[in-house]
Amino acid sequence: MISPDSRLQHHPDVAWRLVQEDALLVDPHTGRIFPLNPVAARIWTLMDPSRQVSEIVEILVNEFDAPHENVREDAYEFIEKLLSANLVVPAPGRVGKGSSQQ
């Protein structure tokens, strides 16, 4: 589970590139390719060990002019998917209380 103060980072093995506003991710462990739409790609590029999930949500709310609750719900759902696919991992050292890092 992630929480507002979770900090996550890209899995270091994941290859990725922006294609205009979309993105393609490649997981070398499985060979799978993941296409991201513009909002998902924006979350991906915002994901940084220095940034909490709540900060990412705030940025999205401003950029996409959408209700906070909707953005939060979508962002959390997407980030959970990234976590479960092991495409992102909890940032070391500064982990939110709800992080899945042991």
């Binding site: 590139r17 993941f34 296409p35």
Partner: protein, 371 residues
């Protein structure tokens, strides 16, 4: 706000991947690139297109620092899939430094290697690097057959050791075979052996390119039309997909050409920036201009290739009776004839075989090939 579905995590992602790739094509974003780090190799394979190419005309291979700059420029061009090839990549003194730099730029890495220089230490480093794919060439099912084609003693034993080391580290690898006169009859033995070695995938092909300088010596090993017909007709393993029946003329004219210089590019050991590893028509050289400049402002001939999206736009193809079956390669046409848009012998020969296969499947008439 757009919902963030279609992320591909558990969803039907392939259609979205295809859409993004098509858009990249339309925008001329090169998602694929091959870099040939060196033409030097520790083997001497009979069919290699890089033979005789080391230090041609005193040209110097790119230095490590120059390769770093090339990679720094390939990433912002949009390259995602980066293949490191040779020669033999592990002969390149600074291979590890270059490949780690590539990884830091988030490329999806594919390594082409003959496998013979992968020992314990290299296997450990590869496990740490975690490339998307490692592709190793295997030319025969036994030590004797493989070594006779690499012209190097012990190359088989070392390749088998590499497979073992990669397996021990759960590193998936692909075995691939260039089928030629000398090993075409062993194709299923090779595949069986490759799968027993634990390869994640196996692939083979029959095409042999001339050397980059136009020397056609390697093609002496290419199988003839009869053997190629037998190869295509035998459906036991993953062969190229052939048309089930003759396509309409209209469809053939609209058939897409390759993505050389559009969705892909290459850099050779001397810094020539090419539309494709096979097409020896450089945009320019990385020592003289930036990759972005060259990509955005190509020589007229490359601009012409980019405008040529379909076979029907190539005069020689539009008039050709083999267009329905042809799988032309601009690079091979250029190497064989000096013109990327001309017809060439090998394309016609292969197209004739594919036509015979399609006819055979429909009418059960065995073709007669010359020679």
């Amino acid at each position: 706000m757009t919902r963030m579905n279609g992320t591909g995590v558990g969803g039907p992602a392939q259609r979205r991947v295809d859409e993004i790739c098509l858009r990249a094509d339309a925008l001329q974003i090169p998602l694929q690139a091959i870099v040939e780090l060196t033409y030097r190799c520790n083997l001497d394979c009979v069919h290699c297109y890089c033979r005789h190419l080391t230090n041609t005309q005193g040209r110097q291979e790119l230095t490590t620092e120059e390769w770093r700059r090339v990679l720094d420029q390939l990433a912002p061009l949009g390259v995602l899939n980066l293949t490191l090839s040779g020669g033999e990549i592990f002969v390149s003194r600074d291979f590890w430094e270059i490949v780690h730099h590539a990884k830091s730029l988030h490329f999806s890495l594919t390594l082409f290697t003959n496998g013979t220089m992968i020992g314990e230490k290299q296997a450990d480093l590869l496990a740490e690097l975690r490339p998307t794919s490692i592709e190793m060439s295997v030319l025969g099912p036994t030590e004797e057959s493989h070594d006779s084609l690499t012209k190097t003693r012990d190359s088989w034993r070392r390749l088998m050791r590499a497979a073992e080391l990669l397996n021990e580290r759960n590193l998936p690898f692909v075995f691939k075979t260039t089928l030629m006169k000398e090993n075409i009859l062993q194709q299923y033995e090779i595949e069986r052996m490759a799968r027993l070695c634990g390869c994640q995938a196996y692939k083979n092909g029959t095409e042999i390119s001339p050397c980059n300088d136009g020397n056609r010596e390697p093609q002496r090993h290419q199988i003839g039309q009869r053997a190629l017909f037998d190869y295509f007709i035998d459906e036991r393993s993953g062969k190229p997909v052939l048309p089930e029946e003759q396509p309409t003329r209209e469809l053939s004219l609209r058939k897409g050409t390759c993505g050389a210089g559009v969705n892909g590019c290459a850099v050779n050991p001397y810094g020539d920036f090419l539309p494709c590893i096979q097409l020896m028509m450089p945009f320019g050289n990385v020592r003289e201009r930036s990759l972005r400049d060259m990509w955005q402002d190509p020589p007229e001939q490359i601009a012409q290739i980019r405008r040529t999206k379909a076979y029907g736009q190539i005069v020689a193809c539009a008039q050709c009776d083999m267009i329905d079956y042809c799988r032309r390669c601009h690079g091979l046409a250029h190497l064989e004839t000096g013109a990327w848009d001309s017809c060439y012998d090998e394309a016609r020969k292969t197209a004739a075989v594919i036509r015979a296969v399609v006819n055979f499947k429909r009418e059960r008439i065995l073709p007669v090939f010359e020679g």
